[in-house]
Subunit: 263 residues, 3 copies
């Protein structure tokens, strides 16, 4: 018998309000032994892509059978469905708006169920806070051993996130800035498999053409020097050693990056 | 025998300093098995009302016998008393300045004791940090089964918070903005029992007269549209779907709201 | 047999990204029963001094055998060494750049080992994230009972932080602002042993000469009044009751403070 006991939380609720604590109290009331770990609650409000990126960057480091709950939910209380995804390794719980899909697909999706069984909800469901009233109880029950088919019917068609993919044409790769972390590092959607580099990389960011040293780590450069490297996410990253690349180049998430791919 | 093992923390200490960690270390040194959950540490500095609202919004979702510790304590080290409140469900520990009373009254207060027994403190008590040196040890001892009468004498008169109550006159309800959450939603102190509405609500916010659709959830409106609804706290709320009502109407906590109550 | 089960985390990663969660997932995958407590993740980027101060302010309040992991690591992936320090009470894990030394020296250093054994790392080590790939596994293995000499050879010379010490000349003490907390309190590096005061203290902050009442706690002063006191860290502190001393006097960390020491 497998004993599931770990739950992660990802949301855009922030840490100033008590919304996250309301979810944790709900989980611990159902399953007092659950170990709850925050991935982040500082996802930009309603930014499904950033939530999907955060969840997919952290989920691989958690134990098998962890339950991952993600609530970036601009459509809360509308017709959008609530789902649980069972993968080869673990479970993902949240709204059917794409926020779970990046992480779930990486692990291999096995089954998806709609959350419809009102036995696994708080007695009164508010239309504005399914995170607490529907998703948190489901995560807690999953974590205490309830099988996912108990929550509702299996479904096959779900919302897929439309994140920009990388285009390659001649010697040029065109991708985008997926995320800017709190160090100001520009994390692109270009993976190492797509581009391997020699000592330097030629990059175009907005109108700025740059030739950057291709480094193994930040500290290989002088303080203040801009570099390219493959970050710990496995993606091409533009960084400034002990500085802030986002400020230096005035780049924001979603901006286009062009990289010359030396064949 | 009941085994108490859950402690929540509410404070205005923020997460940048190590004050919260100092409290957690103190608790875990006394009771290594305690499960500690943060409600929030981002209460505005010295804002007892905001602390009281945060605690009362989250406490109902935690298991029976949880110990709730709240430290918004502008009078730390002065004559203000330190107390533990026993309710029908749980315990509240903190300064006697009103911060505990909203949540405690909702649960039904049974006994209040002054914290005076120096056996349940850190060996050296600093005048500036009773959160760590007095309150955290009391919470940890309560959580490990010490009965509250061990801490000091029972008292009956405590400081009551002076939060504005709702006035109704003719067809007009006059309340106030209790809190603005990180989504910019304006949470009033008007409960659903006090005002039930048809399809629209007439509201006056500062000098702005508004007729708002009365919705069940945010997503029922167009993005950017202002609405009224009963939020997950059970209070009347003014919101902007996928936007920020506080910015739109330039409203801050404590501002007056008038609502036309259709009889 | 001692069962180690507690790990603290200190970093400059912030709570917006998923870096902290990636470390926690890594720890819990190795040691699912570990209790993980955040000291702070809001250390100013690359500010080793602030990290050292945060760790040393919180570590004394944690139980014996706690493992303290600190990752302020501007030299990640370069030649700088990774170390574990064994003190009389506990373990410290992190880069050899001084961030661990303030806290470790306070407890009495017994042994220092270099982290070299690749059996106690994630299978793939990224040059940019040793916090997750090297330090988190070591903390988890220490916490599950692996002895520190398993990780690598004992070393004796490590990097010592160069924090300004207090100078006294005639009746003048010259120190510096070690840290400004989120209340705006100016925490100096002058300890009570170095200066004991009567009712008032004469202080020079930048060009401002001040005569401040020497208080036992903030609430002894009027709201808005500036005072001097010995804070809960044991250091001389300049504060404004219910106000912000950093804003009032325009002081930042590292600024010099002169105090007239009445003999």
């Amino acid at each position: 018998v497998v004993k599931l006991q770990m739950i992660t939380l990802t949301s855009d609720f922030g840490l100033r309000d008590s919304y996250v604590a309301q979810m944790k109290g709900t989980i611990l009331s159902i399953n007092p032994k659950a170990t709850i770990v925050d991935i982040t609650h500082e996802v930009e409000k309603f930014n499904i892509r950033m939530g999907a990126f955060m969840l997919s960057s952290a989920a691989p480091f958690f134990p098998k059978y962890t339950v991952h709950l993600a609530v970036i939910d601009p459509g809360v209380g509308t017709e959008r469905r609530a789902i649980v995804i069972q993968t080869k390794q673990t479970f993902f719980v949240g709204p059917d708006n794409g926020v779970l899909m990046l992480a779930a697909k990486n692990q291999g999706i096995e089954h998806i169920y709609q959350l419809a069984n009102s036995n696994f909800r708080l007695p009164k469901v508010f239309n504005t806070f399914h995170g607490r009233d529907i998703f948190a109880p489901v995560a807690a029950y999953l974590d205490s051993g309830i099988v996912p088919s108990e929550f509702g019917l299996e479904i096959t068609e779900v919302v897929e996130p439309q994140f920009v993919s990388v285009n390659s044409k001649y010697d040029l790769l065109t991708g985008e800035i997926l995320h800017i972390d709190s160090f100001g590092n520009l994390i692109t959607n270009i993976t190492l498999q797509e581009a391997s580099f020699a000592n330097t990389v030629n990059v175009k960011l907005l109108n700025q053409k740059l030739t950057l040293p291709f480094c193994k780590t930040y500290g290989q450069a002088q303080p203040g020097q801009a570099i390219a490297l493959v970050g710990s996410h496995g993606f091409l990253e533009i960084a400034v050693n002990q500085g802030n690349a986002s400020d230096k180049f005035r780049i924001k998430p979603g901006d286009i990056i062009e990289v010359v791919f030396r064949v």
